[in-house]
């Protein structure tokens, strides 16, 4: 049996496995921290900034998915202040690209949309950017719509760590960052893609989808891929 440590989450003393992150420790105790990029079985990267938590004695917020829990640590995972920061992060994601829910295949099954609903985002307080972004339809079975991508990198990690193909990467810097297939090839011209579709199933939005689905029809099999990732001995 692995050694346990004791930490405090929202004032409650809980046991956590040594070596676990704050995110994992919370989940193991039935406490959910919101997040869009984390996935059990994949290495955490702290990309979405929605799982930010307050750690007593630290004067800035920390991403719970990449921060190791430590013996005696006191963590706040839900508070009005944290929820207001999370709403801001969601609004920035929504303003950054063209998320037109009404015409999206993932409408009603989208993690960005449902988290916005859960946290009470009724509008975006930032100016929308309306960037002109491409849609890659070159793959025979799947489509990549950059308008809906939040750069969570789940697709990159599931492809590299579980499928072992490493088709995806992020190119560019800052606001110009884009998901890229191999060395900037179109997806259909990829030499390493096995067409397994894991990237599609774990994508939190409608950025990666199967072809042939209309608005609201793309229901993803996230849990199935997550079980596979854990079963292969990935990060628990």
């Amino acid at each position: 049996m692995e050694a346990k440590m004791t930490i405090r989450i929202d004032g409650e003393l809980v046991k956590a496995e040594k070596g676990s992150t704050i995110f994992e420790a919370a989940r193991a105790n039935g406490k959910r921290i919101p997040g869009l990029c984390n996935m059990t079985g994949l290495k955490p990267v702290g990309a979405c900034r929605l799982c930010m938590v307050e750690v007593a004695g630290v004067n800035r917020l920390l991403p719970s998915c990449t921060t190791p829990a430590q013996e005696g640590m006191s963590v706040t995972i839900r508070s009005a202040r944290l929820d207001s920061y999370r709403k801001e992060a969601l609004e920035l994601l929504l303003s950054e690209r063209n998320h037109v829910c009404a015409v999206c295949v993932s409408n009603g099954h989208c993690e960005l949309q449902s988290l916005s609903q859960e946290l009470g985002v009724t509008n975006v307080r930032y100016g929308y950017r309306y960037p002109k972004l491409p849609v890659d339809l070159s793959h025979p079975r799947y489509v990549l719509d950059h308008n809906r991508c939040i750069l969570c990198s789940r697709c990159i990690r599931v492809c590299a760590e579980v499928e072992g193909a490493h088709v995806w990467d992020i190119a560019g810097r800052g606001i110009a960052s884009m998901l890229t297939c191999e060395m900037n090839r179109s997806w259909g011209a990829s030499r390493s893609c096995t067409s397994c579709g894991k990237c599609v199933q774990v994508c939190p939005t409608g950025a990666l989808a199967e072809k042939g689905f209309a608005v609201e029809e793309m229901v993803k099999k996230f849990e199935a891929v997550e079980r596979l990732a854990v079963g292969r001995g990935g990060v628990k």
Binding site: V100, A102, E118, T122, V124, R125
Partner: protein, 179 residues
């Protein structure tokens, strides 16, 4: 509200499909209660040529896409106590914003010149000029309450209207979603 004076309610239809107005009509029996308490003073559902000087609540559907939309939005703001953005087009600019990556001149020529079977030419007389972007209402005027949804659920509209009539602040968390 004091005494027996009825609340003055206006609605407006900017760049949208009128689905939000349909959703407003779908509040069913609440319409009967509203008739008792509310005077509908402006909008596509009534025959009023000018936006009245003093309005209590305005429900505005649609994105701000043209100079005409912009002027009406500014008039509504100046003459209304509580301005509500009704539906995704007013809240996020939604489907109308899908033209925003195309320059206006190119867009109009594609539709009215290249796409015309007869009498090609961009219409100019009697139609307001398009703005560079179709914008959410809040990027043009101050909005007091946002009711997202495409269309917003009748229950959410009903909640906002009944809360306001009772003098309470509506709480939309859990009642609304984008799309």
């Amino acid at each position: 509200m004091t005494g027996k004076a009825k609340v003055k309610l206006a609605t407006a239809w900017l760049d949208g499909c009128s689905g939000c107005h349909m959703s407003l009509l779908d509040v069913d029996e609440l319409l009967v209660a509203l008739v008792e308490k509310v005077d509908l003073v402006y909008g596509p559902l009534v025959d009023a040529p000018e936006y009245p000087e003093s309005v209590d609540v305005a429900l505005v559907e649609g994105a701000v896409s043209s100079v005409g939309d912009q002027k009406l939005a500014q008039t509504i703001r100046a003459r209304t106590k509580v301005l509500i953005a009704l539906g995704d087009c007013a809240v996020t600019s939604n489907v109308p914003s899908m033209r925003n990556t195309i320059p206006v001149k190119k867009l109009l020529e594609r539709v009215y010149v290249e796409g015309a079977d007869a009498a090609p030419g961009v219409p100019k007389d009697g139609v307001p000029a398009l703005l560079r972007h179709a914008l959410p209402l809040a990027e043009v005027v101050k909005v007091d309450i946002h009711i997202p949804g495409c269309p917003p659920k009748p229950g959410a509209i009903a909640h906002v209207l009944t809360s306001l009539l009772d003098g309470k602040k509506p709480e939309l968390k859990g009642l609304v979603k984008f799309g």
